[in-house]
Structures are given as structure tokens and as C-alpha cells.
Point group: C2
Chain length 328, copies 2
């Protein structure tokens, strides 16, 4: 076996923890260390033998890390951290601010080219694997429609909104794809679907002792921007049930391409994810792409890349002949 | 718009006809001509303005065709035609003899490199899109199991076997994935599934006038190799129903990866196809890959390639910035 790929993690929240877990499933990769803006002594890893360093020290690891996986948020962390890190490392991140993706691509591309690194942005599942399926779908079936549904998934923003309602002690919100809408898409009908028709919302709430259920329910389902445009169900549960059933971070969804070929033959391509841990799955995607980034960088490629630019076989630890034999 | 990609079709059966139909959905591609071993005067295309040439003339089209799509069969046509065509053209084919894929890869790679062409083998959906999903699945979720189910699909070989049974006037056979087996896989259980548990078989038969239904049914369901190892249903129908309901070539299936991440979180990736025309869909995949092959050849790449080697964005007529903006 060749030397393992040396990986660093920049930022250690749910995603960083997921990357640490995913690396342990990939014996050709080795976690060199975690870089944090917090005091390293306060950062507790899954594996306590892995060192934690202050983010300020990161430049000293240029020759010790093959790929740095950036686990910060898209809103404020990555726009700053990405271009900075691309000066010193090959990077992989999960940037997901859709409206700014070309701007961020350009901001990574310049420093990566100047310093001779490869910087992959927007890995994960959406953007990421769902994006791939949107591209495969519309290129293979050019006459058709693509539908993306999300869920069942925990929505952090909507859960926060539920918790701000007076009388709510604890609360979570799940987004669910509409089964009816999915069935219509699968039928080949190519329907036009409104926001309300595509998804429903489901809330689980533990009430404060003196709160009135009907008042709370009404405040939630009529909340503008968050719930008013959807069919929303509110379930009231006790604290023990909440503790038992609503601690995980499920997510997932569907990308469906419905198209016609030849003499009006309906063809349907469907991709779906059912995830019990959203951050761990996103992290697993980033780790697979870190392998591809390392290979492309070794081959001399530089600049910014997305999932669209990376050949699928590069993600696998298997060599091309083995891949053809076992999986083609 | 740049010049269209000039495409040739070698071999004009169901697949070749599907390629002709698919090309008409892709305005950046142009069908230069069909090459056939039959007498060109006897070959009827969907579009009668497209010229048909004798296969013997094909070498004269070296400067007129950017990509030749090979529509012959894997058993006897492609092993001969593929390496020959790779001396003169960039090629795309749907070679699907799994056990010989590395041998065929080598047989294409040498002439393609010598003559400076790119030869893509084993396009389509299985091998092809299903293969891609097997690779993405096992690399993203290294601790898990991959399951491939086929159907609902018309099986040519099994339909032939049904028709050889005495008393059968007309017959077709469909392979169906077992709903029970799929549900077990989706649950995250990672079951071991026998052949019999994964698929069932369904036959539709028009009896000859004097035939006995029970005898025919018994002959079918006990037939070794074809049906004895499966749960097989035989439906007897009249000729008009057969004509109405059993003339298309549906197929499809499922690739499901079920894996665990982190602290035993189940993660499921599912890819499925529901195709009303198997050859038209396969053809649509080949046409999308012909675009990618042309681009890679223009960039100077030579040799044999599979779906594993080709970056997804290359399949799309859209440029990288547009792809990122619209589909990432």
C-alpha cells in the first residue's frame, strides 16, 4: 500500500466530527490533525489521540497535509477561510450558498492557481450528489423536467422558528416531500407543482406548563415565510418522547427526471437519499472527494473544481482495472 | 453556436434507431449518416433525408465524423467492430459482456492510442449509470452493502424460452424486483438475499388453439436455468390483449447502497430507472457520452475510457459556469 493521504480538518462542529468519523472508515487516509479557532484544550475529538491545533498555526502544516477539509459554515466562515486556505493547501468544502457559487468559485480559483493547489467547493449532497443527478438527468433526457424534493429532514431554521413561539418549551420541525406530488412526477405527467404542493411541514412540540395548545398551534401554522404557505401539522408530545425520538438529524430527498424519448416513451430517472445523520453523510461525501482532489493535485491540476469536474472513478480507492472488473 | 458535433451510427437495429431519435433531441449534434452491413437501399431510417452507407465505405468518413456510435451487439459485433473503428474514429459503444470488459478495454485502447482516438466502452445504464451508482455508493459509504435489482423489464432470452414451449403461440417474460426484498434493503437491515428472493418472473402467454394451459404452465415454471429457481407467474391472455399491452420494451431497476456512518447511523442511497423503452434510453445515454468523448478528444486525450473516467459536466451542452449557476 502507498502512503496514506494526509488529511486535516479545519473547524470542528457537527460536520468536522462527521469527517473524523468518515476518515476512520477509509484506511488509505490518515487524519493529521484538527484546526480550531477555539482553545485546542477545549476541543474534544472522537479519537483523543488525534492532535488539535490552533487555527493560527495552520500555515506551518503546508508540507504535512495533502488535503484540508474545510468544515466551517457557508455564510461567514468559508468566504474568508476558503480563499485563505487555498493559498496553502488543496481543499474540499461544502459551500452551499447557491446564489454566490460562481463568485466563490472565482475567489478560490485565483489563489489556488497562484499557489499551485486544487480547491473543490460545494461537496456534499445538495449541492453535490443531487447536483450530479440534475446534470445526468437533463443531459440524458433533454426533453423533460427535473424535480427536487427534500426530506424527510430536520430543518434547523424552522425548528428555531418553532422554539421562538411563546409557550413552546422544546420543538423540532421536519420537512416532508408530498407523496402525492412524487407519485404524479413518477407517473410521467410532468406536473407544474407549487411550493405548497411539493412539501409539507411537521412540528413536534413540548409545551410549557401553562401554555395553551390551540394558541401555540395557531401561532405556528400562520407564521409568515416559515409556515403560512405550507400544510403544517403540529404534534404535542411530552419531554420523554421528545428526548427519545427527536435527537437525530435525519435528512434526504429525491431528484427525479421525467422525460420523453423517441415516439413519446416516458423515461424516469430517480435518485433518493434517506439519511439518519445529515452531517455524517455530508462528511462522507467530502472525504471521498478529498481522495479525488489529492489524485488530481498529484497529477498537476490546479484551480477551483466542483463535483461536475471530477470523474467518478477518482473517488474510489480501487484502481481503474479493478473498478471495471468489479463494478462496471 | 459552434459547429455541431458530427456523429455517425454504425449498425441500425433498435439501438441505432434509438440513437437517431436521441440525436434529434440534441441541437448541438448532427447525424452525418448511418453505416450498415445490409444493403443501404433496404435500411429505412426515421428521417429519410439522412444518408445510409455501406459499412465497407466507412473508412472514407474519417474526416467527416467526430464520433462514431457503435450500435452492434456485444457477443459478435463489437469485439471485432470496436477495435477496427477505433483506428479511424472516436467511438462510443454499449459493450455489456461483463466478464470480458478488461479484455475488450485493452483491445480498444491499443488501436485508439496508436491512431490518436478516444474509445468509450460500456455506455448505457447497466453497464453505465448503474455502474456509476455502484462506485459512488461504495466510496461514500465504505461500510455497507450494494444491491442491484432489475425490472420491471422485458427479458429477451426468457421470452424466447417461453416461446419454445410446445403449445405457446406468443409469449413474453418480465423480470420483476421483489418488493419485499427492496423493502428489507431500504430498512437498513443489509440482508443476504438469494436469487429467488431478489426477483420474480411473470409470463404472458397466448396459447395455441389445442394447447392445455396447465401443461404449458408446468413446462414453464419447472424449466431449469430459466424459471425453476424463481417464483414464476404465468398469465394466459388472448391475442388482442397481447397486441395491445405487450409490444413495448420496458426495463429498469434499482441500485441501492445501504451503509452505516459514525455511531451506527443508517444511510441509504437509492438510484432507480423506470424505462418505457430500454433501447431508446440506452441510446440517449450513448449520445450524451458522445458529446463528452468529442470534448475530451478535442483536448487531446486518447485511449479507452469508461463512465468511471469521464467527468459528469462534460456530458452537458452547458458551459461550466452555467452548470454551476443553474444546477449545482
Amino acid at each position: 500500500m502507498t502512503n496514506p493521504i494526509r488529511v486535516g480538518i479545519a473547524g470542528y462542529g457537527n460536520l468536522g466530527r462527521g469527517v473524523e468519523a468518515a476518515l476512520s472508515q477509509n484506511p488509505d487516509m490518515q487524519l493529521v490533525g484538527v484546526f480550531s479557532r477555539r482553545d485546542p484544550a477545549t476541543v474534544e475529538l472522537l479519537d483523543s489521540s488525534v492532535p488539535v491545533y490552533a487555527m493560527a498555526e495552520v500555515e506551518g502544516f503546508q508540507d504535512k497535509v495533502d488535503v484540508m477539509i474545510l468544515c466551517g459554515g457557508s455564510k461567514s466562515d468559508l468566504p474568508e477561510q476558503g480563499p485563505y486556505m487555498a493559498r496553502f493547501f488543496n481543499t474540499v468544502d461544502s459551500f452551499d450558498t447557491h446564489a454566490k457559487v460562481n463568485e466563490y468559485h472565482a475567489a478560490l480559483d485565483a489563489p489556488a492557481r497562484e499557489s499551485g493547489h486544487l480547491a473543490m467547493l460545494s461537496g456534499g449532497w445538495d449541492p453535490g450528489l443531487f447536483s450530479l443527478n440534475r446534470v445526468y438527468g437533463e443531459t440524458i433526457l433533454p426533453e423533460g423536467e427535473t424535480y427536487t424534493f427534500w426530506g424527510k429532514g430536520l430543518s434547523q431554521g424552522h425548528s428555531d422558528a418553532v422554539r421562538r413561539v411563546p409557550g413552546v418549551q422544546r420543538g423540532v420541525q421536519y420537512t416532508l416531500p408530498s407523496e402525492t406530488a412524487i407519485a404524479r412526477v413518477r407517473s410521467g405527467e410532468q406536473p407544474e407543482l407549487s411550493t405548497r404542493e411539493k412539501h409539507t411541514r411537521e412540528c413536534y412540540v413540548v409545551l410549557e406548563a401553562d401554555a395553551d395548545a390551540d394558541t401555540v398551534r395557531h401561532s405556528i401554522v400562520t407564521m409568515p415565510d416559515y409556515f403560512a404557505d405550507y400544510d403544517t401539522q403540529v404534534h404535542f408530545i411530552d419531554e420523554a418522547t421528545f428526548e427519545r425520538d427527536h435527537q437525530s438529524m435525519p435528512h434526504g430527498g429525491f431528484v427525479i427526471r421525467s422525460g420523453l424519448t423517441g415516439n413519446n416513451n416516458t423515461q424516469t430517472i430517480e435518485y433518493s437519499l434517506a439519511l439518519n445523520s445529515n452531517p455524517e453523510f455530508t462528511a462522507s461525501v467530502l472525504v471521498a472527494y478529498a481522495r479525488a482532489v489529492h489524485r488530481l493535485a498529484e497529477a498537476g491540476e490546479v484551480g477551483a473544481r466542483t463535483v461536475f469536474d471530477i470523474a467518478p472513478g477518482l473517488l474510489s480507492p480501487k484502481d481503474p482495472a479493478q473498478l471495471r472488473k468489479e463494478l462496471l
